[in-house]
Every structure is written in structure tokens, then in C-alpha cells.
Amino acid sequence: MNPPTLKEAASGFVSTDEVAAALAELSTVDSARLAQLARLRCLGAVGLEWQDLLHEAFIRVLDGRRRWPRDVPFVAFVAQSMRSIASETRQADLVEFGALGEHESGDEQGIANVLARTDITPEREMAGRQMLLEIEALFAGDAIGLAVLEGMARGDSAGEVQAQLGLDPTAYASTLRRIRRRLTSYLLPTEV
């Protein structure tokens, strides 16, 4: 492995040779986590396969288009990269579900309003809706888990979520663990 260039070392970025070494030595846990993160980013995306997304993220960091800051864990860095790539891919997918007011099945008028206000294609809107339905199904019977996840998505702090839902810190931590385990299992590829 070549040592980092002076510029790389000074700027706090990992050299591409070090990236290659990190890729070659991925642990089972990190590999599985990357598969989950890639699948997550492909939820609701039309025509985006998790394998392609992950491959593109690896390629970009290996060819230096994206640079890995030395103080960021590799998996977190790749997750950021995939977020960016998926975002590029879905640039036209500004699916503003907020315009629907509330995501309710049968709300055809709401969908029509959104379609009129944006350039969402029916396929993209369907994919986004399908994603929400899948998440709802995943948390069927766990209203507290879903509510905690929603609170996080809104950007609420842990204290705010606990106060809103009447959870003590122990129950909150237990709920987080339940969510994590449910998500990790759900997001593992079923066909590999």
C-alpha cells in the first residue's frame, strides 16, 4: 500500500489505497450492515438496485471522486455516499408527501394534487407509497416503535419523543433496540 500523499495526510482524508485495503478487509458485520443500508436507500426508488448503488459508492471512493474523511467510520462514510448517489438518482423524485396532509389510503384527490404540483411520475409516487406501506406493515402491532421512528424522522430529540409518548428512558432504550432489530432483519436481502 502506498503511503498517503502529503496532501491527503494534511487534509485528513484516507488515501485510495487505504480505501482499497478497508474494502478488502470488510468484516461480516460491516458487510451485512452495508447491504442493509444500500437496501434502505433503494426503498421507494424506481429502477435502483441495492447492489448497483453499493458498487457505485465503492467505485466513487476508489477513484477519488468521493474522499473518505479519516475521522468518519467507513460504513458511515459509505452510507453518506449512497445517500448522495440515491439523491442524485431521485433528483426528479421530489415526492412531497407533505402535500398530501396525511398519508391515507384512498386519498386519490391528495395524490392528484401532488402530481399536479410536481413532476412525480405515477411509478415514482407508487414506489414511495409502497415504501411507506412496507414500513407500516413492518411495525404492525408496534405502534410505539413506529411512533418513535416517526419522532426521529421529524428530528425530535430523545427527550421530546419520550415526553410525547410517555416513555421512561429504559422503555425508550428498549423500544430503540426493538426497532433496530426489526429493521436489521427486514433490510437483509432475501434473495442473494
Binding site: 485510495t16 482499497a20 474494502l23 478488502a24 470488510l26 461480516t28 458485520v29 458487510s31 451485512a32 450492515r33 452495508l34 447491504a35 442493509q36 443500508l37 434502505l40 436507500r41 421507494g44 453499493l54 458498487h55 465503492f58 467505485i59 476508489l62 477513484d63 460504513v75 458511515a76 452510507a79 445517500r83 439523491s87 415526492v95 412531497e96 408527501f97 407533505g98 396532509g101 396525511e102 398519508h103 391515507e104 414511495g128 415504501m131 411507506l132 414500513i135 407500516e136 413506529l146 421512528l149 416517526e150 426521529m152 424522522a153 421529524r154 428530528g155 430503540l176 433496540r177 426497532i179 433496530r180 432489530r181 429493521l183 436489521t184 432483519s185 433490510l187 437483509l188 436481502p189 442473494v192
Partner: protein
């Protein structure tokens, strides 16, 4: 029922959960699916690394010195040539015999001289074939 916000916010929240998951959380998933996913990710990583190596080989400028892969076909050929016919280049033959390798420039210079000699020499075989074809 999920309240409304941009789906990406929900994905971001779930991503944070996955990143925060510890090994115990991950290992709570079925072992076969876990190992199969890990295997596929490693394959993707392998493909990415191979693509990088391919690009590096294509982009590698031609070096005048010997590469790390060995002496190369030209040097191999000259070594065999001067071993069989030392009179072609006594200096090169002596160098090889002493276990030394000449520089790439020396080898290329000799190769050029041999090629010139070969091109300027008569080619009776080719002439015969040409004549034969005209008949």
C-alpha cells in the same frame, strides 16, 4: 398510519438506527441471510477493486525501466538469443552470463539493431512465394 413527511426523512431516521445497531442487534438476524448478504457485499467490493485495478493498468504510462512484473518479453527474448548466439552481442551475453540485466534502453537499442538487420536482409522465402503466386 405514518404521518406525512418527506420519505427521505424516514429513510434517514432508519439509517441512523442501522448505523447505531451493535453487533448483537445485527447478529439477531437469521445467520444464513446475514452471511449471504455479507458474501454478496464482499463480491461487490471485489468487483469494485478489480475495476480499479483495470483502470490503473490502462492508465499506467509505459516505463522505460523494468516493471515490477519482471523483465518482460523483450528481455526474455534477448536473453535466450544471446545465450544461443553470443556473437550477436558479446557484451549482452557477458552481462547475462554474469547474472546481470542490462538496462531497458540497452536492450531496446539492441532490439532495434537486430530489427534493422532483419529488415534490410533479403527475404528469399517471401520472394519465392510471390513468384509462385504469379505463375
Amino acid at each position: 398510519m405514518i404521518k406525512t413527511y418527506h420519505p427521505e426523512q424516514l429513510i434517514d431516521a432508519m439509517e441512523a438506527m442501522i448505523l447505531a445497531a451493535d453487533a448483537d442487534d445485527l447478529l439477531s438476524a437469521p445467520a444464513e441471510r446475514l452471511s449471504a448478504a455479507a458474501l454478496e457485499v464482499r463480491e461487490i467490493a471485489g468487483r469494485s477493486l478489480a475495476a480499479r485495478a483495470d483502470r490503473a493498468n490502462v492508465a499506467q504510462p509505459r516505463k522505460s525501466g523494468r516493471s515490477s512484473r519482471g523483465p518482460g518479453p523483450l528481455m526474455d527474448y534477448l536473453k535466450r538469443l544471446v545465450a544461443a548466439r553470443p556473437e550477436v552481442s558479446p557484451n549482452l551475453a557477458a552481462a547475462f552470463a554474469a547474472g546481470k540485466s542490462p538496462s531497458q534502453e540497452e536492450a531496446e537499442a539492441l532490439a532495434v539493431e537486430l530489427l534493422k538487420a532483419r529488415l534490410s536482409s533479403p527475404k528469399p522465402g517471401r520472394k519465392r512465394r510471390t513468384e509462385g503466386s504469379r505463375r
